[in-house]
């Protein structure tokens, strides 16, 4: 199977004619540039981040962000000069898109997008051919505004900064019964410290905040994998690499919509007097789909809520790419406002994913008896062809990502085996093939507005 499919001219045309701003994260960067595939990838990696580069995400924030950026019109004026805007078009497109969509973005998405814009400013400002451009002053001003805006947004999580020394509270092995030996930890992030010549800390400031999270140790062997749908998916009993699978899921979510998976990253944590490998997942608020709410299961209570349906649609699509085989009502969290409205849905327990046996989305049609791998607890349900509601923006992002499978490969390669990465790309391409005619043909299942 060839995973490096050529870019579709249909997609290229669509990009030009579309409102062009529904596309995700890093993918947008390449739209109006003619970079080589390699530089495209590097640019995307810089922008959307690979696992080592970008650990700066959060669940949706309801805090309004006051508009402090200049309008798109003012920006255009400040960067006007004689000649075509070819060199600045990527920034134009991205900034216009951001200004148009900003009010609908959650805090996390804003942060990601703002950082993309800063990257684009930097790309312009460091371009050797643009060093004397009259547009530079306007770009510099915009970059300053963007940085200010980033700092204004409340960021309560910076992954990758986890350090045992910054743990402020811990409860070891208290959650989840006998085998589920999770540690609850609360730790400070954004910590700066000064040390003397001997390396002793002399001053320590917490400029970020505190994060609540769970730590899950890595396991070398889990014979019970054989009793799950992970085994036929290709997840081994020995060295099942659950941590890597969970982190990989978040990494893919970052490419598409980071709000649907809580920040998850590899970590070392002190337990039983030794530093052990595992992963940390941010604690998210809410109830699981299987929680009883006023006597009914939460997935039934919220099944008609538009945000629930939209988020579940996104989660299902992500799950297909990730080869998730265990999305049940107990492993997604429904976050609600004080008024009881759904704010977000987050997929947790993403360890049973990325097996290498399922190389396209038909795996969703696998059944045990009559039961699909994905049961109809959720809006989509069943095989991919049975999706009843599909979020347009997510679908478009997936199609775009499928045009650049090397991005997915770059993100996953450090975590998964080559056969697992190949399988993930296969599922991505398969899903995009399914979605493309629906998106282009205005299929009824494609939802732009959720109501």
């Amino acid at each position: 199977m060839t995973f490096f499919a050529p870019r579709s001219s249909r997609i290229r045309r669509k990009r030009r004619s579309d409102s062009d701003n529904e596309l995700p994260l890093g993918a947008k960067v390449n739209r109006s540039t003619d970079h080589s595939p390699v530089s495209d990838m590097l640019q995307l990696q810089r922008t959307v981040g690979n696992k080592a580069a970008q650990k700066l995400l959060d669940s949706p924030s309801t805090d309004p962000v006051v508009q402090r950026l200049t309008s798109y019109k003012s920006y255009k004026k400040s960067t006007s000069a004689w000649g075509k805007r070819d060199h600045i078009r990527a920034l134009d497109v991205a900034y216009k898109a951001y200004m148009k969509q900003e009010s609908g973005l959650n805090g996390n998405d804003k942060l990601v997008r703002l950082k993309q814009l800063v990257e684009l400013c930097d790309a312009y400002l460091t371009d050797p051919t643009r060093q004397t451009s009259k547009r530079r002053a306007g770009v510099i001003t915009l970059k300053q505004q963007l940085l200010t805006e980033i700092n204004k947004i409340k960021v309560d999580f910076v992954g990758g900064e986890f350090s045992e020394g910054n743990v402020t509270e811990r409860k070891d092995k208290v959650l989840g019964g006998q085998m589920n030996k999770l540690d609850y930890i609360k730790y400070s992030f954004g910590v700066t410290q000064e040390t003397d010549d001997q390396g002793v800390t002399t001053d320590k400031k917490v400029e970020g905040g505190e994060l609540e999270a769970y730590f899950k140790p890595q396991v070398d062997r889990d014979p019970m994998v054989a009793q799950t749908r992970g085994a036929p998916a290709g997840i081994p009993t020995d060295n099942p690499k659950f941590a890597e699978r969970a982190v990989a899921t978040y990494e893919v979510a970052k490419l598409l919509d980071p709000s649907i998976i809580p920040p998850t990253f590899m970590a070392k944590h002190q337990r039983d007097n030794q530093l052990v490998d595992g992963f940390i997942m941010k604690k998210v608020e809410g109830v699981t789909g299987s929680t009883k709410v006023d006597g009914d299961y939460a997935f039934d209570v919220y099944k008609n809520d538009p945000i629930y349906r939209q988020q579940m649609s996104k989660l299902m699509l992500l799950d297909f790419i990730c080869g998730q085989v265990d999305r049940h009502p107990g492993n997604y969290m429904i976050e609600t406002s004080k008024e009881g409205k759904v704010i977000a849905v987050h997929g947790i327990d993403n360890d049973l994913s990325f097996g290498d046996k399922y190389t396209d989305t038909t795996y969703g049609g696998n059944k045990i008896g009559n039961q699909h791998i994905f049961k109809n607890y959720i809006s989509a349900g069943g095989d991919v062809t049975e999706l009843t509601e599909i979020d347009r923006k997510m679908a478009e992002r997936i199609i775009t990502l499928a045009g650049q499978p090397q991005v997915l490969r770059a993100v996953l390669s450090g975590l998964l085996s080559s056969s697992e990465v190949d399988a993930a790309i296969g599922r991505l391409l398969s899903l995009a093939n399914f979605l493309r005619p629906l998106v282009n043909g205005s299929d009824q299942r494609i939802k732009t507005k959720w109501e």
Partner: protein, 185 residues
């Protein structure tokens, strides 16, 4: 004087009891063959256990599935945990899985629900044996019952050996599968 070593089934009973869980209705002849493989993992035949459910169905299809029992806590992550109980007691294959042990579950509620399901399963085991004894079930008949509150419940009656893989056959879904099979006997 040395004490007799505690049997695996006794260890399992204690472990379940200390966790506030009912003990699964493992027939005595299987219970005495249980071995403790690791924490929360008891099996009469770890080879079958670790080959997985698909292998179990293949053995069933060929009519080479021995009587067998597995008791375990299975799962992953924060909240995807369950008690798995597999009982193969010819002519019945029971695959029971009930949520318990997740960090975000109401584990007390789940334990209460599990007790009701185990009680119903015990009645079904007896009833199937009776049906076999009085000739209502033939020598090659099997009932396969999956009772899984997370992915759904269903049952199948089949003759083995079979040309068709059991998972390709037409199963009957049910909200109360244990009661429905009892009725179908």
């Amino acid at each position: 004087m040395t004490e007799n070593p505690i049997s695996a089934v006794e260890k399992a009973r204690r472990q379940f009891s200390e966790a506030g869980l009912p003990f699964p209705p493992v027939p005595a002849s299987l219970a005495e063959k249980l071995a403790k493989i690791s924490d929360w993992y008891y099996s009469t035949n770890p080879d079958i256990t670790e080959k997985g459910e698909l292998a179990l169905f293949e053995l069933l299809q060929r009519d080479t599935l021995p009587d067998y029992a597995l008791l375990a806590q299975v799962g992953h992550g924060i909240n995807s945990w369950a008690i798995r109980c597999t009982i193969v007691f010819r002519p019945l294959v029971l695959l029971l899985e009930y949520p318990w042990g997740g960090a975000l579950m109401d584990n007390e509620y789940e334990a209460t629900s599990m007790r009701k399901r185990f009680d119903a399963a015990a009645k079904l085991i007896d009833a199937v044996q009776q049906a076999r004894a009085d000739g209502r079930l033939g020598a090659h008949d099997y009932f396969v019952v999956i009772d899984n509150s997370l992915i759904g419940s269903q049952w199948l009656k089949l003759k083995v050996p079979s040309d068709t893989h059991p998972l390709k056959m037409q199963w009957t879904t049910s909200d109360d599968v244990l009661a429905d099979v009892l009725t179908a006997l």
